[in-house]
């Protein structure tokens, strides 16, 4: 059940109708949400009905243990058990085919069949679950007392497919609050975000994917260097609109149930440097990698500064591998890791001075950062290393023709680029306009959007790019 499908919105409407009358009773409200979470998982595969409750229950017990245990060895053992279990789930249900293929390559034998890989972005569940036990281990919070609250928070359905990765300790108190209401303003905000997400996904991301990006990456040699370059720019926009569109729908869906999720994007291609890019792009993952991986690596407090650089590089390398077990993602992660380490070193050399206020320098920094990110996206999107090199070789051919860039593609690209750079206050103004509109105008706007999607985008519900991670 994709967050952009009709089935999902029927489900969400049903949940909205059921949840609000019952949420005034804590147990009833939480039970409805937990049922919805597991219903959502079951739509992907019934096996999740064993896996997720089992793993959540174990993490709940570990959390209780961490809440009461004082002995360091016991606390370490408990958190290790949680890490081992969650990474074990990831290894078994996501990476096993890669492990088997690697083993088969070494042993020069045929890789055994493995049917237990799952379509859902299971890593988002594992990451979310790990925030709980690691936070407790670090004494950054107190264990959730109620099993029902914990199970509901850790498996909250809007975040299941692609985040935003939400700390259990941040979501649980919201769930615990009895007698919540949904103001007209929050309701309007929620519907606006959902509408915005759908628009981003269908009218921009899917349109660019089908009419340009997929074609260029499928058969780069059929396009000129200029077209291939525009295809790569288009991918940068497609990925942003696809993923931020998903996040908008997830955040809007949660808000419709009175729950606030963290923001995941903040106009990333405006970043002045690579460190800032990661504070603007997939913010919840960057924070997770920083808080739970980077800070956990050894040597950070060492006098040897080299550890800092190495850890930055290593964190991003693992981040790359998390996206997929292939050389493409290794290169993508390594590029970002190296750039972050370089930027960290550069900043240290300059005595941590703030970024220059000079307009030309700022524009140049933005262009440099964005183009570096876009170059790295080639490896992220390409089907193989060979495919990535083909795309780059086409760009390097410097052949010029725009025969394959039709006017509608150019218009969508221009709108996508401009919309990304628009100041936040314009979105806020549009949102407030929507919120202040009467209910029938809000409904009409949503219906017009759905109609436009039906008749303009015509691409069907393609999966969100990040659901495969």
């Amino acid at each position: 059940m994709l967050l952009s499908s009709t089935v999902y919105f029927v489900f969400l409407t049903g949940l909205f109708l059921l949840y609000w009358p019952l949420q005034r009773w804590r147990v009833a409200g939480l039970s409805v949400l937990l049922f919805a979470n597991y219903f959502f998982y079951a739509k992907w595969d019934l096996f999740y009905l064993i896996l997720i409750p089992g793993a959540s229950f174990l993490d709940y017990l570990i959390g209780r243990g961490l809440g009461s245990a004082q002995a360091p060895w016991l606390r370490r053992s408990l958190v290790s058990l949680s890490v081992f279990m969650n990474l074990g789930i990831l290894a078994t249900f996501k990476y096993m085919p890669f492990f088997l293929a690697t083993y088969a390559g070494i042993a020069q034998t045929k890789a055994p069949a493995w049917h237990w890989t799952f379509p859902l972005g299971i890593s988002f569940y594992c990451f979310q679950s790990l925030t709980y036990t690691i936070d407790l281990y670090r004494k950054d919070g107190k264990p959730v007392r109620s099993l029902l609250t914990h199970m509901t928070a850790v498996s909250f359905f809007p975040t299941t497919l692609s985040g935003p990765i939400t700390r259990v300790l941040a979501l649980a108190p919201q769930l615990e609050k009895v007698g919540r209401t949904l103001s007209s303003e929050d309701g309007g905000k929620a519907l606006f975000r959902i509408g915005l997400g759908l628009m981003k996904k269908f009218l921009i991301a899917d349109y660019l994917a089908e009419n340009l990006v997929n074609r260029v990456f499928d058969t780069p040699n059929l396009y000129t260097g200029m077209e291939a370059l525009i295809g790569v720019y288009a991918y940068a926009l497609q990925l942003y609109y696809d993923f931020s569109g998903y996040s908008d729908i997830a955040i809007g869906s949660a808000l419709l149930l009175g729950l606030k999720l963290p923001e995941n994007f903040n106009r990333p291609y405006l970043a002045l440097n690579i460190s800032e890019f990661w504070r603007r792009w997939h913010i919840s993952l960057s924070n997770w990698l920083r808080d739970y991986l980077y800070f956990s690596l050894p040597g950070l407090r060492s006098k040897w500064k080299v550890f800092t650089y190495f850890n930055l590089f290593f964190t991003m390398l693992l981040g790359g591998l998390w996206h997929g077990a292939s050389w493409n993602f290794v290169i993508w992660g390594a590029l970002h890791g190296a750039a972050l380490a370089f930027h960290h070193g550069w900043r240290t050399l300059r005595g941590n001075k703030p970024a220059s206020a000079n307009l030309a320098v700022r524009v140049a920094s933005r262009l440099l950062t964005t183009h570096f990110v876009i170059l790295a996206w080639v490896f992220f999107r390409a089907s193989s290393l060979e495919n990535a090199m083909e795309v780059l070789a086409r760009i390097a051919s410097l052949t010029v023709s725009l025969a394959n860039i039709s006017m509608p593609i150019a218009v969508v690209l221009a709108i996508a680029a401009i919309a990304h750079y628009l100041p936040k206050r314009i979105y806020e103004f549009l949102a407030s306009l929507y919120i202040r509109s009467p209910f029938f105008a809000q409904a009409a706007a949503l219906a017009a959007l759905v109609l436009a999607i039906q008749y303009v985008a015509v691409t069907g519900a393609a999966p969100f790019l990040y659901t495969k991670f």
Partner: protein, 467 residues
């Protein structure tokens, strides 16, 4: 007493109004075209489908990819050959299969962009050479006129050539060689062709000789194979063949003096076996072979090539121009056939229809470009009228909407333009063509056997009747 709504009022009203609004067109006939919601979606919410382990199209295609175990399901997968024009090709193939000394069967496959990248043709080549023997890679261009150009098992890096594909009509004399591209190089121009596997024993260079023509040196690894002087008293199409060491995999063609005009090289091995030439021109259409290329020149080139089967596999680009299909196209195809027959009258000629070509339809489904079925029916008619065989690729691969199905498969079998197959999709089409050729060949062998039995039977009868 104030009654409190169980739901947040305004969001509830928005959702309810929206739901009524999108459901309404189902009940008002005048608004029927504005339907965006189906009630059937509601039960789908509680439909817990078991996890699909593979996309359906891939399973279907996997079955079709087993040529030895799957019989051809319908006539649409067969070659239509009412005049038995394919018999010449089958007879040659039979000799090759019987390992008759050095018998080589040569197939020339003319096609558009998929053929330019050796998609489909590489798969047929592989399958047919696996069964009948490998008599060499066949024709290959001097350089890459398009980045998309490439053959499986070979690669070329070149510099200094002026490349004129027939599609762009860059040469006024219309001479583009067998491969449809003219290469003019001055001193220093060169090409390095790398073969992945050794074993080729002969190299043929096709060129245009003319008074004052320059010289070109051919190297096999470090060994100089020959120096060719293209200075001829009269302008003429020519070719020269040299033996090359079978272990050689790197070949160089270097212009050492003056200006030369080359067309293509041909790599061959000792027979028996099959040579399958993949001759693709990017963005081509029937008019290129019928009009752009000088007729007499192409006839001479075909005569030198001596193919047993010529496949004309055009139509995808034409399908974008309904007016052309309905007016000039039949004339162009007739002219192509006339030219081939004038060059190699004994050869089999087969028209191979294009693959499906997808296009988005209202509502989002991927259908078939509307002109395509019309074009294919014109091709079938022209083949029948002109005594050519016909292979309906479009029907064999599943008919209308196949590219839509292929696009939705995981992994995708066709590129996002719904035209160019991905390698797995090309393999499917290649296998279908191979199966169709083998089906025709087996029928031919059966026919020969029956004929042999029939001629032997009358002679045997008196003996058997003897008391």
């Amino acid at each position: 007493m104030k009654i409190q709504s169980p739901w947040p009022v305004k969001p509830f009203l928005v959702i309810a109004t929206f739901a009524v609004g999108i459901a309404l067109p189902q009940y008002i006939p005048q608004w029927y075209n504005w339907r965006i919601f189906e009630w059937a979606t509601v039960p789908a919410v509680v439909d817990f489908q078991p996890r699909a382990r593979a996309a359906e199209p891939l399973q279907e295609e996997a079955e079709r990819l087993r040529p030895d175990t799957v019989s051809l399901k319908s006539n649409s997968s067969r070659i239509h050959d009412p005049t038995a024009t394919m018999d010449h090709f089958y007879a040659s193939l039979l000799k090759t299969e019987r390992l008759q000394n050095g018998t080589v069967t040569r197939i020339l496959h003319y096609g558009d962009s998929p053929t330019t990248a050796d998609l489909i043709t590489a798969d047929v080549r592989g399958l047919i050479q696996q069964r009948f023997g490998d008599a060499g890679h066949g024709a290959y261009l001097i350089a890459k006129p398009w980045a998309w150009y490439g053959h499986r098992g070979l690669d070329v890096s070149a510099s200094g050539w002026k490349m004129d594909p027939a599609t762009l009509k860059g040469q006024k004399d219309g001479r583009y060689g067998l491969g449809g591209v003219s290469f003019i190089g001055q001193t220093g121009a060169q090409s390095e062709i790398k073969l992945k596997k050794p074993g080729h024993t002969k190299l043929t260079l096709s060129y245009f000789g003319q008074p004052g023509g320059g010289e070109v040196k051919i190297m096999a690894g470090d060994i100089e194979v020959a120096t060719l002087n293209t200075d001829l008293p009269e302008p003429a199409d020519a070719e020269e063949t040299w033996p090359v060491p079978p272990e050689a995999q790197n070949f160089k063609i270097i212009v050492t003096r003056g200006a030369v005009r080359l067309f293509n090289v041909v790599f061959r091995k000792e027979g028996p076996g099959v040579v399958y030439d993949s001759i693709g021109l990017n963005g081509t259409w029937a008019g290129v072979l019928a009009v752009h290329i000088n007729g007499q020149h192409w006839i001479e080139e075909l005569k030198m090539a001596r193919p047993d089967l010529v496949i004309i596999n055009y139509g995808t680009n034409e399908s974008g121009y309904r007016n052309y299909v309905e007016t000039t196209y039949p004339k162009d195809v007739r002219e192509i056939i006339r030219r081939v027959r004038a060059a190699v009258p004994e050869s089999s000629v087969m028209i191979m229809s294009p693959m499906d070509r997808g296009a988005r339809e209202a509502g989002g489904t991927i259908g078939t470009v509307t002109t395509l079925p019309k074009l294919i029916s014109v091709q079938a008619k022209l083949a029948a009228e002109n005594g050519c065989a016909f292979f309906n690729t479009f029907e064999a691969m599943g008919g209308p909407g196949t590219m839509g199905k292929w696009y939705m498969a995981e992994p995708r079998l066709v590129s996002a333009d719904f035209i160019h197959p991905m390698p797995a999709g090309a393999r499917i089409v290649g296998t279908l063509l191979y199966q169709a050729l083998m089906d025709g060949y087996n029928s031919y062998k059966l026919k020969q056997l029956r004929r042999a039995v029939a001629t032997a039977a009358p002679a045997a009868t008196p003996t058997e009747a003897r008391p």
